[in-house]
């Protein structure tokens, strides 16, 4: 599955997108954040305040409880500041 990052989440991780293959027990957005956080310091830093991180699955906002099964693209980003 493709994971995309924006704003300071992207800056901290050091890339805008990547393909990841989390193990089968990673079922929700929250669990994916936890799994990604274990991939290195840059990920731990990006997701250190995990509950503030927003997520979208296939371009729709989702909560951390949302299942990731079937997702093509999962995005992580800080609260939006557009407008």
């Amino acid at each position: 599955m493709k994971v995309v990052y924006f704003a300071w989440v992207r800056e901290r991780i050091g890339k805008g997108d990547e393909d990841v293959a989390p193990p089968a027990e990673v079922r929700t957005v929250g669990q994916l954040i936890e799994w990604l956080s274990g991939r290195g310091e840059e990920y731990a830093h990006a997701f250190e305040k995990a509950k503030f991180i927003r997520a979208a699955i296939d371009r729709k906002h989702v909560k951390h409880e949302a299942p990731i099964e079937g997702a093509r693209e999962i995005a992580f980003f800080p609260p939006m500041t557009g407008g």
């Binding site: 995309v4 924006f6 704003a7 300071w8 992207r10 979208a56 371009r59 729709k60 906002h61 995005a75 980003f77 800080p78 609260p79 939006m80 500041t81 557009g82 407008g83």
Partner: protein
């Protein structure tokens, strides 16, 4: 059917408003909102607006559809810029038209409140002294503004 555009270049608010009224005799109220880049105390060179391509259009379209369901609108246009935007330049445009002013006003406010809290855009400050400033933090006030519609 709303007009939604995400673009780097500037927009012409008057032309967008005119497009919603031209040749019509049933529009009673046009509300145009323009959000501009403000200088925070003389140190800002520009804001850089990052966005999530694809989702930005889709999310604003969802918000516009919701506005069209809640108010009797005749037209909705929303344009959001991305890239580097200097103080005094336009960032966002919302135009709503309706037979009556209350619907046009409320829908425009609703669109802006939701755009602020749901559209995937992020602002980073670039300072005049060459330093790259902070990512602008989301405001609780914006969340509260959006909550009043639910």
């Amino acid at each position: 059917m709303a007009t939604i555009r995400i673009q780097r270049e500037d927009f012409d608010a008057a032309a967008e408003a005119a497009a919603l009224t031209r040749g019509r005799k049933d529009v009673g109220a046009v509300v145009t909102f323009v959000g501009l880049c403000r200088d925070e105390g003389g140190k800002l060179e520009a804001l850089e607006l990052e966005h999530y391509p694809g989702m930005a259009e889709e999310e604003i379209a969802r918000v516009a559809t919701e506005a069209e369901q809640r108010w009797p609108l005749q037209g909705v246009t929303a344009i959001h810029r991305y890239g580097k935007i200097a103080p005094g330049e336009n960032i966002v445009l919302v135009v709503t038209t309706s037979s009556h002013r209350a619907a046009a006003f409320e829908a425009a406010e609703f669109l802006m409140d939701y755009l602020k809290t749901r559209a995937p855009f992020w602002k980073k400050e670039h300072n005049i002294d060459g330093t790259s400033g902070e990512w602008v933090e989301a405001k609780d006030a914006d969340d509260r503004a959006a909550e009043r519609w639910s």
